[in-house]
């Protein structure tokens, strides 16, 4: 029966037979109950129950306590810094991530394989290592700092250093979401644009850019989301001055060290809600991209 469907589906659009086959497979393949049960069990004990502890702890606070904890000037300054630096870093990554993806997909040059592999370095290199290494580079006696500081540019132990660390952390997100979409892009559309008299820049702006926009925004949102929660790479380079260069995750750590569990929880809930919103946006963007990819050209 499967063979018959696959023969029938060959050539034609396989949507309906595939759906029928998948429905049939539910009966044929064993293990649905076991794997779903285990997945839900493990998900609950590792993720859902501990996360709900955060909400229950918050529920024990009065609204006033909660509001005081999350709206203290020092905390508000940390939101501004965290979001501002994350946004700037994601913006830089949006631009250079697209450029790197473009160069990797469209051009040939020596060492391309190594460059491609190196893009994932921020995924593989522990954040604490990245943090101390960037600090050593940008400090006054470091390779980069010793060039920049005579010019009056100081990056280490300043908010600007935070942006540098967040650029490092977020770069692969943009490259890796844009790269596969660029690979799948149809060159015929570009040829058509050129034949119709478009310059290369017009083709890029009006044909290529709209088609990769969902992926580009997804990469931006992912880099931003990762940057907002980032801790390890930032604390070494930030200087961690209250009101100036103190990120929100560090506020949570500070409150924990003073045994202010209620305050830490309140700020953590704010961060968690923001993560959920970002996750929701990323999911919506990915759905948009899938619709784009699925739509007939």
């Amino acid at each position: 029966m499967t063979a018959a469907t696959s023969v029938a589906a060959r050539g034609a659009v396989p949507a309906a037979p595939a759906r029928a086959a998948r429905r049939a497979s539910k009966r044929v393949l064993p293990g649905f109950g076991l794997t779903l049960g285990y997945t839900l069990f493990y998900l609950s004990i590792i993720v859902l129950i501990p996360l709900s502890a955060l909400l229950f702890k918050t529920a024990t606070l009065s609204w006033e306590q909660f509001w005081t904890a999350i709206s203290a000037p020092r905390v508000v300054a940390s939101y501004r810094l965290t979001f501002g630096a994350s946004f700037l870093a994601a913006l830089v990554n949006l631009f250079f991530g697209l450029l790197i993806a473009w160069v990797l997909v469209r051009y040939r040059f020596p060492g391309k394989k190594i460059v491609d592999a190196l893009v994932d370095l921020p995924f593989a290199l522990p954040t604490a290592v990245a943090g101390i290494s960037l600090t050593a580079l940008l400090a006054g006696n470091g390779w980069v700092g010793s060039i920049l500081e005579p010019l009056g540019i100081q990056l280490a132990f300043k908010p600007a250093g935070i942006v540098v660390a967040l650029i490092f952390i977020g770069l692969p997100f943009v490259v890796r979401t844009v790269q596969p979409v660029l690979e799948d892009a149809e060159k015929e559309l570009e040829e058509a644009a050129t034949c119709l008299g478009a310059t290369r820049w017009q083709t890029f702006r009006l044909v290529i850019l709209p088609s990769i926009m969902p992926a580009l925004l997804t990469g931006f949102a992912m880099a931003f989301a990762r940057a907002v929660g980032e801790y390890g790479s930032v604390i070494f380079i930030a200087g961690n001055m209250p009101m100036v260069s103190e990120i929100t995750p560090l506020i949570i750590i500070g409150k924990l060290e003073q045994y202010d569990y209620a305050g830490a929880t309140a700020v953590a809930v704010v961060m968690l809600v923001i993560s959920f919103v970002l996750l929701f946006i990323i999911n919506a963007l990915q759905a948009w991209q899938r619709r784009r990819a699925g739509a007939p050209a």
């Binding site: 037979p17 539910k26 649905f32 590792i46 592999a117 190196l118 390890g232 993560s275 996750l279």
Partner: protein
Amino acid sequence: MSATTATRTIRRAQAGTTEAPWVRWTLIGIALAFMLLFLVLPLAAVFAEALRKGFGAYLEGLREPDAWAAIRLTLITAAIAVPLNLVFGVAAAWCIAKYEFKGKAFLTTLVDLPFSVSPVVAGLIYVLVFGAQGWIGPWLAAHDIKIVFAVPGIVLATVFVTFPFIARELIPLMQAQGNDEEQAAIVLGATGWQTFWHVTLPNIKWGLLYGVILCNARAMGEFGAVSVVSGHIRGQTNTIPLHVEILYNEYQSVAAFAAASLLALLALVTLVIKTIAEHRNEQALKAAAELPPERPAPAGV
């Protein structure tokens, strides 16, 4: 006349899908310069700083007992966290990729959830459950069981932050490969386990390896979440990243970078294995694509 116009149009169309050489090389130059500055230099700086006072000082930094304790704890943590997430990843990928059911999209989002939670918040939730003032903290204290500020807490926090890695790698791969081979095996009389071991596993082994090494790299390198639950007891609850932090804050720069260089080497090995696994995976997918259809298009993420 019309023939020459046609050739001219074709030539223009072909030229229209690429840029002039000077544009091309400028773009390549900018991209490579950016990567040199933001990726290669930080990596090189780790080794340069570690070897600044010579190879002897480098080895000295790695030889102290606290460094060994940190290495041991890191290995133990990864040895527990990675297999736990491996079993979960395979189970989750099997039920999400092989079946259709209500709430599947929601379940997939939940599996990805730990990626979007800040590591610091991840550590905090375990303190709230197992800590002295937490849900079951008093009960644990009465029975003399330590979880937070001890090794179990470190393992739990690591499991949380590395939770989605393997599932995430396997789900799109198994969706792309479809069900026909498994169905054929079942129809021919294989049991579910036999089908999994002899049919599914060989098909997904490179994706699985790729997920495992990424999971392992993050497990060994996690800093934020582990920092919250560790308690920072030297020689007891310090993993390598925490050990790096302590040395660095004590201005023992060479020793800090020596320990960090171990993690940087791990990152390099991870990238090499990942490149190989990805290459093999692509070949497997290409081979699968040449088989008859009846499978959804690879969901590239």
